[in-house]
Each structure stands twice: as structure tokens, then as C-alpha cells.
């Protein structure tokens, strides 16, 4: 009788620990081999056959199709350079240059990966659309209310994710530092 209770107890512990760890790993987005430059993180291996089992599970569970490594690489940011979470009611400035790439796009998503509704139906910028300074650098202001220049509206959502995708780029699994891949600075600013 003791044995039955004991093993039942062990099975319950196993189920809670095992499935709990899986749930945590998938909802937190555990993935290995990330390349972090400033506020931006990419997982270049996720776009290859060498994708790790955790990323594989996230891909299957969420239904996303990761960008293939022969196509490009996607950098994700949820905080600014100082680690402050993006807040759609405040201003965030993305400023600087991007790594070499034929094209890049910057897109704003909510945390589940949907676009965020806004008054001008702008969900992001492409490298062709952006207004640049004379030296080729650019500044994008991500804010709830209209701004001059490159304004990316937040639609007032509380939390969002920025994705900078580089297409046809030498940046990939081997890139480690900001010197090889100069990512734009991200700074949270005024909060009304």
C-alpha cells in the first residue's frame, strides 16, 4: 500500500515538475545560441536544420515560420538598451545604423506576434522608406502620438516587441559583436 501511494506521489511530482518546466521554457521562450547586441537578440540557428529542440517546440506551438538563414536574420527587442520594458504609452527612439544588408525592415508587434492597430496603418518601416540624415544614420521615434520624421505608432498598447530583419546579409551564426553588426541604439524617453 505504501508503495502504491509512494509511486503515485512520485508520478504526480514528475508530471508537475516535467510539464511545468516545459510550460515555463516555452512561454519564456528559452532558446540557445542567441546573439545579443545591445537591446537586440537574434537566434540565427533557428533558421537552419540545426535549430535546438526548445526553439523547435516553440515554432510548432506558436505556428511561426522562422526566417531561413539563406534569406536573412531577425533581431528581437523587448526592452531598451538599459533594460527598460517597452511601454506603448511612452516614447522610444531607435537611432543609428544597421549592419550591412541589402534590405532591412523594422516592425512592431504585440507579444503574441500580431500587428498593432493604429490610425495611419503603419506597422513598420523598410530601409527604402526611412528618412536619413546626411551621414546615412537614421532616427525612428516609436510613440503613441504623431511625430515629425520617422514615426512608428504604438497604438497605445502596453507591451510590444520590435523586430529588425536583415535580408541578404553577412550577419549570421558567426556574428558575435556590435563591431561586426552595428545595431541601432534603443532608448526609452519621455513618458506622459
Amino acid at each position: 500500500m505504501r508503495l502504491v501511494f509512494g509511486s503515485l506521489f512520485a508520478f504526480v511530482v514528475a508530471a508537475v515538475v516535467g510539464l511545468g518546466a516545459t510550460w515555463l521554457a516555452l512561454s519564456r521562450g528559452v532558446a540557445f545560441g542567441g546573439v545579443t547586441i545591445g537591446a537586440w537578440t537574434a537566434w540565427p540557428k533557428t533558421g537552419t536544420s540545426e535549430i535546438d529542440p526548445y526553439a523547435r517546440a516553440v515554432v510548432a506551438q506558436t505556428g511561426r515560420l522562422p526566417i531561413g538563414s539563406g534569406d536573412g536574420v531577425a533581431f528581437f527587442a523587448q526592452t531598451d538598451d538599459r533594460g527598460r520594458m517597452f511601454d506603448g504609452r511612452c516614447d522610444v527612439v531607435v537611432n543609428g545604423t544597421t549592419p550591412p544588408a541589402r534590405f532591412w525592415t523594422l516592425t512592431l508587434y504585440d507579444r503574441s506576434g500580431s500587428l498593432v492597430a493604429n490610425s495611419i496603418n503603419r506597422y513598420g518601416f523598410t530601409s527604402q522608406e526611412i528618412v536619413r540624415r546626411a551621414d546615412g544614420t537614421f532616427e525612428i521615434v516609436i510613440a503613441p502620438r504623431a511625430r515629425p520624421g520617422n514615426w512608428l505608432p504604438t497604438g497605445g498598447v502596453e507591451r510590444y516587441v520590435l523586430v529588425l530583419r536583415l535580408y541578404d546579409t553577412p550577419v549570421g551564426v558567426a556574428s558575435r559583436t556590435g563591431r561586426e553588426a552595428p545595431m541601432p541604439a534603443v532608448l526609452a524617453g519621455a513618458c506622459p
Binding site: 505504501r2 509512494g6 509511486s7 506521489f9 512520485a10 508520478f11 504526480v12 511530482v13 514528475a14 508530471a15 515538475v17 516535467g18 510539464l19 518546466a21 516545459t22 521554457a25 516555452l26 533557428t46 533558421g47 537552419t48 536544420s49 535549430i51 529542440p53 526548445y54 523547435r56 517546440a57 515554432v59 510548432a60 506551438q61 505556428g63 511561426r64 515560420l65 522562422p66 526566417i67 531561413g68 538563414s69 539563406g70 534569406d71 536573412g72 541589402r102 534590405f103 525592415t105 516592425t107 508587434y109 503574441s112 506576434g113 500580431s114 500587428l115 498593432v116 492597430a117 506597422y123 513598420g124 523598410t126 530601409s127 527604402q128 522608406e129 523586430v163 530583419r165 535580408y167 541578404d168
Partner: protein, 185 residues
């Protein structure tokens, strides 16, 4: 005494939990019902190029899609024959990404890497490739052959619209793309 027993059972449970965890992570891709392939299955006929709707706030077919791209999908099944894919190349940027049934991007190519005015390639299983006649292997140098690790999967065609007004052009490029069975003699 019973406390020690309880601790031992808990320890056993935690060890077993580790196995449960690893197994569930490995099994999950095969049991997921909301993966990209399952979501696209009702919208895309097999072995044909089908355009996907442009993502919008109220329509998220797949999460984290780039709204600057026109996207079309060829959902393939290689059981009967290999496939032949052709895509015209736009002014801006066009790419093809190959995913297995479980969403793993095993191959991707862009217009510049393809180096021609149209991207033309053949998709087959390793088995079908090994059955290619010898003399065809000689000419295979200028044929682009992609080997699919699974019998079914997705080819995702993407054409960039650098500005919103180019979207109809980008969609037009993909409308001219083809994906069709190419039986071996």
C-alpha cells in the same frame, strides 16, 4: 522515517520529471495542432502556389510575419513525384524558404544567390534524387536541386514591397510563380 521516505519519493519524482520534461519538448512538434502547416492546410491546395493575405491587426494567420512582404505558399507533397518551382524575380527582393512539415527552415535562397531572372529549382526527396538517371547527373550542375527531409512541407515565397504602393507589384510577381509535379521518366 516517513519524512525521509517522502523525500526519497520526491527525489524520484523530480528525476522522473526531468525525463517527462525532455520527452514532452521533443514530442511537442509532432503533436502541435496549431503549427504553421496545420494553419495553412485549409487555405492552400497541395502542390500549387497560393497567395496568403497581407497580415493586418485583425488578421494574424501566422505570428511575426513581415508586413512589408507579399507572401505565397506552395504546400507540397512529394509522395507521387518531385516538384518543379519557378518564380520570377522582382526589382526589389525575392526569396524562397523551404520548411519541413514541422516548420524547420532547412533551405532558403534569394534572387541574388539564384543569379538569374527567374529562380528555378527542383524539390525532391533523397530517395527520388538517388533515382535520377546517370546522364542527368551530368547536366545537374546547372540544375538547382533541393532535397526535402520530409515528404510534405511548405515552400514560402516572399517578395518585398519596399514601399506600401509596391505591394500590388510584389503580389503580381508571386502570382506568376509556379509549383507543379514534375514526374520522373
Amino acid at each position: 522515517m516517513s519524512v525521509i521516505r517522502l523525500l526519497l519519493w520526491s527525489l524520484g519524482g523530480i528525476l522522473l520529471g526531468g525525463i517527462v520534461h525532455l520527452t514532452s519538448v521533443l514530442v511537442l512538434p509532432r503533436t502541435a495542432t496549431q503549427d504553421a502547416y496545420s494553419r495553412l492546410e485549409p487555405l492552400t491546395p497541395v502542390n500549387t502556389v497560393a497567395a496568403l493575405p497581407v497580415p493586418s491587426p485583425d488578421q494574424t494567420l501566422l505570428p511575426f510575419m513581415d508586413p512589408a512582404f507579399a507572401v505565397a505558399v506552395c504546400r507540397y507533397d512529394l509522395a507521387d513525384a518531385p516538384l518543379k518551382l519557378t518564380t520570377p524575380v522582382g526589382q526589389a527582393y525575392t526569396s524562397l524558404t523551404f520548411y519541413t512539415r514541422f516548420g524547420i527552415a532547412y533551405y532558403a535562397i534569394n534572387d541574388r544567390a539564384a543569379g538569374r531572372r527567374t529562380i528555378e529549382l527542383e524539390l525532391m526527396t533523397a530517395d527520388q534524387r538517388s533515382r535520377l538517371p546517370e546522364d542527368e547527373e551530368v547536366t545537374a550542375a546547372d540544375r538547382l536541386i533541393v532535397e526535402s527531409p520530409t515528404l510534405t512541407g511548405l515552400v514560402v515565397l516572399r517578395a518585398l514591397s519596399p514601399e506600401p504602393s509596391f505591394m500590388p507589384v510584389a503580389r503580381g510577381i508571386l502570382a506568376a510563380a509556379q509549383c507543379r509535379p514534375n514526374p520522373q521518366q
